[in-house]
């Protein structure tokens, strides 16, 4: 399937419609009211949460995108890890999932089998059940999953409820968008691609399981909008988040690639979107790009009370060694994000 990657105009979470563009149309939709809908799309959270009874809520999410890698099975694994991620980011456990498939008539159907097998592998790893799906012909291949999970309605991790005094933990290294762009430009080193593929296929399950032992105030997963847009979302209207650019975990080569201007369209869209929300000051250009880099199946950004942040970090690092403390939460200042 050599045409797999090159047939697509854009891949992975880099294909997302820009956050600015999206808000223009979402604001025109009616707000649905239902006391059992604990988290809806008005909160721009990662998934919807609907309460069933006192102790049980279901979390529901859907995610799909075009390929960002040549190998169909790897693409399937990444798409499934990405779709499951929203459930973990809410503090839930996935129960079952449905496949979503768009596939060109002209492509080899065996490759579609590989995509689905890759997705199924990740569902098994997550302990969730695959129970069907829907497929249509389309010009470009697309794959993803609608995932349903469960959680305790008293322990929902919302994405915009951090508390001043919290510290922020990021569980995966940044830079997968830049590395995949370098791959498209045939300038990526094998080690960098390997690191990016491993990161994108890594389930956020392990980080979330460790984090559940701590009183998490807010959580989101990093996607195509990049670290900065998610940070702004997390800061909401009442806090300011200070990020430490020098503390960010990233794929080592991504820094060099950014320095060499291997720039993505999505990264620039994210930069435009963040205008006025952050002052880059003296932050080196490659670190700016890493903070704007679209992440496919990115890590969790967790807001943890300051007094247990180190302990939480150590626990998470047992399974996610690249996790790092990357910032802190302050009462609201002039900007939603400050770089420290």
């Amino acid at each position: 399937m050599k045409s797999f990657l090159s047939s697509c105009t854009t891949g992975g979470c880099g294909a997302k419609i820009g956050p600015g563009e999206l808000s223009k149309v979402l604001s025109g939709l009616p707000v649905f009211q239902d006391p059992q809908l604990l988290v809806g799309f008005d909160a721009s959270d990662d998934a919807a949460v609907y309460q069933i009874n006192e102790d049980t809520a279901i979390v529901s999410t859907v995610d799909f995108f075009t390929p960002m890698v040549e190998d169909p099975r790897t693409f399937g694994r990444i798409a499934a890890a990405n779709a499951l991620s929203d459930v973990y980011a809410m503090g839930g456990s996935p129960l079952f999932a449905l496949n979503l498939v768009c596939y060109p008539e002209r492509e080899d159907i065996q490759d579609l089998g590989e995509i689905l097998a890759g997705g199924a592998e990740k569902l098994q790893e997550a302990g969730a059940v695959l129970c069907g799906g829907h497929s249509i012909y389309d010009r470009e291949p697309k794959y993803g999953l609608a995932v349903t999970g469960r959680l305790n309605p008293r322990q929902i991790w919302k994405n915009n409820t951090p508390q001043p005094g919290d510290r922020l933990i990021l569980t995966k290294p940044l830079g997968v968008g830049i590395v995949m762009a370098a791959l498209r430009g045939e300038m990526a080193e094998a080690a960098a691609v390997e690191a990016a593929l491993a990161s994108m296929q890594r389930l956020n399950k392990y980080a979330a399981e460790k984090a559940r032992d701590f009183p998490i105030h807010a959580c989101t997963d990093i996607t195509g909008f990049g670290l900065l847009a998610h940070t702004r979302e997390m800061a909401g209207g009442s806090t300011t988040i200070v990020l430490y650019p020098s503390a960010l975990p990233y794929i080592a080569q991504a820094y060099t690639y950014a320095q060499g201007y291997l720039l993505t369209a999505a990264g620039q869209r994210n930069r435009n979107f963040m205008e006025g929300a952050v002052e880059f000051g003296d932050t080196p250009f490659p670190l700016q790009e890493l903070m704007l880099d679209p992440q496919t199946s990115g890590g969790l950004l967790l807001s943890v009370p300051g007094d247990c942040a180190q302990e939480a970090l150590r626990a998470i690092q047992e399974t996610e060694p690249q996790a790092a403390l990357i910032g802190e939460v302050l009462p609201r200042q002039d900007f939603p994000i400050l770089l420290g």
């Binding site: 105009t9 854009t10 762009a181 370098a182 498209r184 430009g185 300038m187 080690a191 020098s246 503390a247 960010l248 975990p249 080592a252 820094y255 060099t256 320095q259 060499g260 201007y261 291997l262 720039l263 993505t264 369209a265 620039q268 869209r269 930069r271 435009n272 003296d282 080196p284 250009f285 490659p286 180190q310 060694p321 690249q322 790092a324």
Partner: protein, 197 residues
């Protein structure tokens, strides 16, 4: 003038092709025009041009085509605070003194060494701290101002995570980021030049 037709191509391809053409001009310089069909590509081309210290402008043509013109060469450079040239120099510091002999003298020498590194042009690409060298990136280090200045210039500063845990100074880390042994080995292996202290 070199004209590059990057219509229908998505980032980073237009930027890569433009950069290669600019580099191919050598010291004499010249003009590279790039045709793209979306404004984001135009923005990325101008971001690259500015970062490399070149003048650029653009013109919107018919059918959504945008022509970005980049001028490279003598007298064309604009003032830029962009990224410095990559020196490829990696300095690995595995102790908090320099050389054998008096420990007090060793500390003074190491402070002077780091101060002098700060004066290098271009600055070191990366500084690696491990074992007792980890004390140098903590907030009580008397080299912290020099290290912060280098970080601001783009030098990547990494301190061994195992080491700061071992010495119980994780909370004191005041500059750069935590690295694991894989990061350290990769940085050393990829260094164009490596200095070990």
């Amino acid at each position: 003038m070199i004209t590059i037709d990057a219509l229908g191509q998505v980032c980073p391809i237009p930027v890569i092709r433009a950069k290669k053409a600019l580099e191919g001009l050598g010291e004499a310089g010249g003009v590279v025009a790039v045709l793209v069909d979306n404004d984001i590509s135009r923005q990325n081309l101008q971001k690259m041009a500015e970062g490399m210290g070149y003048q650029s402008e653009y013109q919107e043509k018919d059918n959504g085509v945008i022509e970005v013109t980049i001028v490279a060469g003598e007298g064309c450079a604009v003032e830029t605070s962009g990224t410095p040239a990559d020196s490829g120099l990696v300095v690995a510091i595995g102790r908090n003194t320099m050389g054998e002999g008096s420990e007090e003298l060793g500390r003074i020498l190491l402070k002077g060494f780091i101060y002098s590194l700060r004066e290098l042009t271009p600055p070191p690409a990366r500084l690696l701290f491990f074992n007792s060298g980890a004390y140098l990136t903590s907030k009580d280090s008397n080299s912290i101002e020099d290290l912060k200045a280098m970080a601001a210039q783009g030098t990547i500063i990494q301190t061994c995570g195992t080491c700061i845990n071992y010495y119980g100074i994780t909370e004191q880390l005041a500059v750069g980021q935590v690295a694991n042994m894989y990061d350290i080995v990769t940085a050393m292996a990829e260094a164009k030049r490596l200095i070990n202290i």
